[in-house]
Symmetry: C2
Amino acid sequence: MIIKKNEEEKQWLVDTKYYNLPKDEYFKLESGLRLPELKLAYEVYGELNDAKTNAVLICHALSGNAHAAGYHAGEKKPGWWDDMIGPGKAFDTNEYFIICSNVLGGCNGSSGPNTIDPTVGKPYGLSFPIISIKDIVNAQKKLIEFLGIKKLLAVCGGSMGGMQALQWAVAYPETVFSCIPIASTYKHSAQQIAFDEVGRQAIMADPAWDGGNYHEKEHPSAGLSVARMIGHITYMSNDSMEKKFGRVLKKEKLGYEFTAEFEVEGYLRYRGDSFVKRFDANSYLYLTKAMDYFDLQQNKKLSEAFKKVKSRFLIIAFSSDWLYPPYQSKEIVKALKMNGADVTYCGISSDYGHDAFLLEFGEETKLIKHFLNSTKKKLEK
Amino acid sequence: MIIKKNEEEKQWLVDTKYYNLPKDEYFKLESGLRLPELKLAYEVYGELNDAKTNAVLICHALSGNAHAAGYHAGEKKPGWWDDMIGPGKAFDTNEYFIICSNVLGGCNGSSGPNTIDPTVGKPYGLSFPIISIKDIVNAQKKLIEFLGIKKLLAVCGGSMGGMQALQWAVAYPETVFSCIPIASTYKHSAQQIAFDEVGRQAIMADPAWDGGNYHEKEHPSAGLSVARMIGHITYMSNDSMEKKFGRVLKKEKLGYEFTAEFEVEGYLRYRGDSFVKRFDANSYLYLTKAMDYFDLQQNKKLSEAFKKVKSRFLIIAFSSDWLYPPYQSKEIVKALKMNGADVTYCGISSDYGHDAFLLEFGEETKLIKHFLNSTKKKLEK
């Protein structure tokens, strides 16, 4: 049991573990290139049962990491989806064994552009090969095998995590018993690629980026901050921005100056500034690129992409999410239904925009708790 | 008559003129500050009638200029709204005297941050005072007075131009006989401010910007280009991006590299690159700020803002415009109706997003031609 109740702090203390691909192996990528090593940071919560049938894989979004729930010793903030994972919660750690790993290409412990290339002894930088969602999932598969798990009760994720969940169901139909993509898509649209590209251009426009070779120098904070600000606008809905900020000023009246005069300006700057302290600019380039490459359809009928799928599905979308609009989720539902798959679609009415998958945990909890419970019963049959 | 038919080229040749505030005057701004001078670049098309009752003022959007129609000698591209202005067109130069001036704060001939501050003999840079839409309109009023026009048959503009048109109707009810705001708003929302702020941050993050003092050095092209790319995404609709680009690649297959691989990436980079050749980064800061400050409502009921208005209105919005969504135009209509104003609202169904005001000239022509004709008849009564 990994989660320990600290009676003093009334917190679940967890720690991050690391998986390494055996030294004599390399990791093959969709591009045909090979990575000389593979390291994945991961955390687990709850206990794996003897039959190893209660494992649930949580896939994180662009800026997430392996620390999905509980507290790291000495830290005041819990993991990014702590509202959803824990005893009695949606992903009930009394019932399920929850796994979350930092994605390949990320910057929180897993192999990525800011980790050391063992062949040269310094950070990869842009020599890190371009990766895809398929590669991210294949890396997670290595971890799952290492943990001795043959079948995942569920794979779940929001946003980029939802793409991974879908990729799991498509690539490993025998391994994935159920799949829960939230606020996600089966392929990046032109507009989704466009927002990512502008973020990348903002990073690359920063001279401190220096072709990705900034590891021992000043980091491209200004560029990464702008990229994050663009992202943040797309994560909120027009309504939620209006309700949260409207035209409220930070001071009593307009100062006729280029400081952050409106609350919304201050918020964006704050979000940009705090992001650069915890995220790597090169990882931002690689992960947005992986999302832009994501396309299960590949110019065919979408239903063909799901032909071999065996999972049951709970697909969740949010009414005001304009970054990954509900119509994209509904297209997945339709294509799965064409294959006779067991699919439940839930459109949640919410003002929070794309961010809703991190905020509407009340509704999500009810839906997922019930879905996991019925899935468990089906698996036990 | 300013427009001359060049028989050789079959083009209407036009030229830009300049208005200067008399040397002994200064120009007072909403902030309370004074500009030591005021220069406005402007163009006119058609002839002013003897009664001076056929003048129509066209107000341009963020990246527009005084050159709205016809051709400058030796140039192959006509003015930015040439589809709408000319003999027999929506703004029929056989009937009306059309005026368009580059806005105060702009970078195409009018006083702005890149023009010379006469008190020090070098470009203003950030010492140029922050201006508002009200200031832009007050500057245009000086030009209109200089041209000897007491009443404008119509003031029309799209986007930022629509804000100016509304401001004209509110500030100068006796001067504006009719008003045609297109794809616009009565105040910038939190999301609209947010997009502008990220664009400004992109410019200011470019070291070449150097606090606005780049006039004799390399310009902040990278930052301005990113700002323009963000803008372009907001000018198109999700549908129009999907139809125009989808996931089409520039090459036969993915190259697994950070070049512009998708058509939409290439388009954005091209748009960014071409913009920096014709626009000034500091002007971008000042004009986006002016739009962010724009708020006719001022925490009151919107209908109060329109209490003194005497114009008749044709208000046009486009179904897929998510930057200035139709609901904002409809709020204007409602507030005007509360004051008993003569208002016609036309929602045009279009996939082009905000850009529709520059592209849907077929529909716009029908609506505006008829509206101007009936307005003219009313004025003559």
